[in-house]
Subunit: 250 residues, 2 copies
């Protein structure tokens, strides 16, 4: 099985961690894992002894759009071979076993993966077969464990979901994307709107009784200043005030 045309992932580019599916059973799940990876920019998949051989038509059909991940799969017979060129390997497993091993959250693991890879190390993450998960003999080959913190009463992540969460954390650790804020009108635009509204309300005898007037105006101004208004919003408000008071002014 080893040494096929599908070994392009061996030509390690180093920008992304390798996602290693160990003895996956259903082709559909391999395809779904490929989609999950590529959603977050990871295109390096390795397969260890897939049950139904390789290539797999069902995997290709399911991966549609993420075919590039499957095109460059590295295929190996054993975990040992699939991790031979890697400097650091995580094993995902639902529960800590009887092994002494560092245990990471996906967040911690991908932060460390980024740090290691920035120094030129090659990092991989192993995922076990559906249902059974990784065996202890696989896990002992890993440097550390990733455990997703799930509801103790219900832990039922499937293979593609587990890949999804690790890949998501990989992209998330890229350093948070710059936050975008909606545009916002300048103070003078807001003040003019406040004046317009106050005048209209004044003509409608809204600020009454007279001794409450200062606090009512202060409340109104405070409320408007807390509104995240754009220039467009302000134009709408001017229009609304004009519309609502139109007949009054006749």
């Amino acid at each position: 099985m080893a040494g096929t045309d599908h070994d392009k992932a061996a030509d390690w580019a180093g920008q992304v961690p390798a996602m290693i599916l160990v003895r996956p059973q259903m082709g559909e799940n391999i395809g779904a894992a490929a989609r999950a990876m590529w959603n977050f920019g990871i295109d390096r998949m390795r397969l260890v002894a897939p049950r139904d051989g390789w290539p797999n038509e069902k995997a290709v059909a399911m991966a549609s759009g993420a075919g590039r991940v499957l095109d460059q799969v590295m295929l190996r017979d054993t975990v040992e071979e699939a991790t031979a060129d890697l400097n650091f390997v995580f094993a995902t497993t639902a529960r800590p076993r009887d092994l002494v091993k560092d245990c990471y959250t996906p967040e911690e693991a991908m932060a460390e993966a980024r740090a290691r890879m920035a120094q030129g190390q090659k990092v991989g993450v192993m995922f076990g077969p559906e249902r059974a998960g990784l065996e202890n003999s696989d896990i002992v080959r890993a440097d550390a464990i990733i455990t997703v913190p799930v509801n103790p009463a219900f832990a039922s992540l499937n293979l593609a979901q587990c890949v999804l969460l690790v890949a998501y954390e990989w992209m998330r650790q890229q350093g948070a994307p710059e936050r975008e804020f909606p545009e916002r009108a300048e103070g003078q635009v807001i003040h003019a709107l406040t004046d317009h509204l106050e005048e209209a309300l004044d003509r409608a005898h809204f600020f009454w009784p007279e001794d409450k007037r200062p606090s009512m105006i202060a409340n109104l101004r405070n409320m408007i200043s807390r509104m995240p208004l754009t220039d467009g919003d302000v134009r709408i408000w001017h229009g609304m005030i004009r519309a609502l008071t139109r007949r009054q002014e006749k």
Copy 2:
């Protein structure tokens, strides 16, 4: 459809955000969303007009193990009804639209959700139907948007995966530091204000020309849903609208 036995989620416990599936199509996806939620301890699901009605056998079959989520579903006909008792609603949408709206990552959103809920606010997250996603008329009812930062070249998260990532972030943010938020009116209070304003503007022939009417109303709703209004603010707005339209009505 409203007012069924399935309204136990209305008896809000406040520990978890409500996951609101808007017009979901396949029962299997509702079940998969329930599993995704319960993996991370969220058992409050709301359904808006599921295509194949409710209850749905396929949803139950798929949810196996997470049946408690489906047992206490709140079922409603409209987004407006499904969000009536909520103080803050996020809309998940792949791309920012032509609407001015604060845009959060899942991480930022769930951190804020925890902080708001720690102060007693009720928070929900809306997810659109498979393929089509939320419509603008749904999004304008939301306070803010959640966009998952995906590979720009391949963004293909399905409904359950999107729910999974938000639920994961909810659990991950456990123990995030406290933040203070001003009080905030419930959705139904905001909806009633919007109705009042729309009626007044309608009588004043504000929504003109007729072909612009839907977009003008959408803009107005979006603008108001972005305003951080308290119950007191809303009372003032009702009073202002009444004052401004008083003479008109004579």
